[in-house]
Subunit: 354 residues, 2 copies
């Protein structure tokens, strides 16, 4: 079992059966346990958890509809009503078993119900293992605005067991890789090369050390700046354009978060090149590596206008100016660069297919 110290809790990486989870459950033996899943983790992960831990045999299970379009306040409200019916108190325990949507929504549900009760994250997707479940961001979307409503709050424990990855379809694995690529690009050029290499050669047999190194990048940044006053903003690299793309694509069948962020990273790398912060060689290396793995989508001029409108309402903005992260080099990122609509349009146009 590998252990990374986070803000007031531990991240344990390894076989869940050998982790401290069992001990934690015995400490909570007198209270109610709730397990939050979505339709996918209900089917693929829940029975493993319940049959492996006796203390969970009488846990209440709350099932959310799968899909980013259901990460909405109305559904959180329904769950709060359910918890009230179950008589859940602030001493009970919530276990979030699922991907980023489950840890985001479950963390928010637990953080606000009776002003907060404890929760544990057991991420089942790669995206959630390397990113979403770490760092205390919780929340839901408001219409198309991603994570518009939420709070910063940490789980009491986080268990990462890569055996859950076997339950994932390939596009979900790919989605997780995008955040790993990001961790390399913003913090460690050598990590970027290792992630791309693994993705090209054996994406489904991800190396535990690589997983650890990616988690370390995320954890190191968020423990230094838990509420995103400064440094933490570098984790948004690829997300200014990425969130707008993901939000806009919701209406047309959806795009995975990682796919949108991967495209966002190429666009923000292009912007870094246009501003002469990185060289053309560096840009080409990034573009070639990423576009080989993630298809650049087609979009019209109308789509561009809609995406620019979404970017203008991003959480990271100060008084209506749009700010983004840009690369100083591969492995180093800076934040709070103000960008204008003309520049956004230039970048979107550059990647527009005829």
């Amino acid at each position: 079992m590998q252990i990374i110290q986070a803000n007031n809790y531990n991240v344990e990486i390894g076989n869940l059966m050998e982790s401290s989870f069992s001990k934690l459950l015995s400490e909570y033996s007198d209270v109610k346990k709730l397990i939050l899943v979505d339709e996918n983790t209900q089917e693929h992960c829940l029975s493993y958890l319940i049959t492996s831990f006796d203390e969970l045999s009488d846990a209440e299970v709350v099932v959310l509809p799968a899909g980013e379009e259901n990460k909405q306040l109305g559904i959180v409200g329904n769950v709060w009503e359910m918890l009230t019916e179950y008589g859940i108190t602030r001493h009970d325990l919530l276990i979030n078993l699922g991907g980023g949507m489950i840890s985001d929504m479950g963390g928010f549900i637990a953080s606000c119900y009776k002003r907060g009760f404890p929760f544990v994250n057991i991420p089942t997707s790669l995206l959630s293992m390397v990113d979403a479940s770490i760092g205390g961001k919780t929340g839901v979307n408001l219409g198309h605005f991603k994570n518009q409503i939420g709070v910063f709050n940490n789980p009491i424990a986080l268990y990462i067991d890569k055996s859950f990855l076997a339950t994932l379809p390939d596009h979900e694995i790919k989605s997780g890789y995008a955040e790993m690529i990001k961790h390399g690009l913003i913090h460690n050029a050598e990590l970027f090369d290792r992630v791309m290499e693994m993705m090209r050669t054996n994406p489904n047999e991800i190396d535990v050390q690589l997983l650890m190194d990616c988690i370390q990048v995320k954890n190191s940044v968020v423990t230094q700046d838990p509420t995103e006053k400064g440094l933490r903003k570098i984790l948004n690299f690829g997300h200014t354009f990425g969130h707008a793309i993901e939000g806009h694509w919701m209406e047309r069948g959806g795009m995975t978060h990682g796919h949108a962020v991967a495209i966002g990273m190429v666009m923000e790398a292009k912007l870094s090149e246009l501003r002469r912060m990185i060289s053309s060689q560096e840009y080409d290396k990034i573009e070639n590596a990423i576009i080989q793995q993630y298809e650049m989508p087609s979009y019209s001029d109308t789509d561009i206008d809609a995406m620019i409108a979404l970017m203008s309402n991003d959480k990271k903005n100060i008084s209506e100016t749009v700010r983004t992260c840009l690369l100083d080099t591969i492995g180093k990122c800076s934040f709070d660069h103000v960008i204008g609509n003309a520049e956004m349009k230039e970048v979107f146009r550059f990647f527009q297919k005829n």
Copy 2:
């Protein structure tokens, strides 16, 4: 200007025009200001605020429908959509101008919008000045369950100007006195006598020193235990029965929070006497003082059953046992006393009118 140091912010008591509010606004001159009011404070307090501070001349004003029945998640959701439309970012400023409902809802709105942006409380009701606006509790009701959804979070500043009290009807002043009575009963027997004396003689010309002393009790408790792990629970004296009464009365035209808490305090004092924690003399003193000011409501056996059901879902409970505060003497309170349905029924029956 009197200043009390709270958790990471100051409580200033005195004329708002002479407080640090003007300086604070100048520090926020570059960002959007939002003022949250309800229909009452829109009518009676808003123009004073806007005309007194130039920096607020172009503030957006959000008006909520008045009344506890509107302290609901759906309304908070509407406000979040409004803030999104206004393009509010996490660097902007919310000013809560109103009673406890406004500071509770506004605090929650600001705490969760884009994972939190700063807010200031300017309480306009006595209840809010001595209680609700202090201590970081924010939230909304979920159906009949009071403050079921919320977070702990503090304003960046709190300004108490008693001139706003002139805008209040008498029953609202009375509602505020109930929490002042509570501060005396749980912490300071002499303060209890002073509060009752002022209430009997000149309730509308409340003494600033008395206001200060009551705020000090609340502030001292919440700074010692901000998230209610232990000591802070004594502030719930009167609220186990009081919340059930208030919740139950919602359907029949409503009862002020203070009125319900005053009745709840008499009931919990009765329970303290039944358990021989306080003497009959002490109990009689409390009952006589409070019942003279707050009418004991009439209720049926069916009402009793409904109120007991509400008490079973109180936030303070651990694994379905109902816990309450009881008095050790006038001026001292203890918490986490487990009470059963038979005892609740006995107390409700004692005060039942034929």
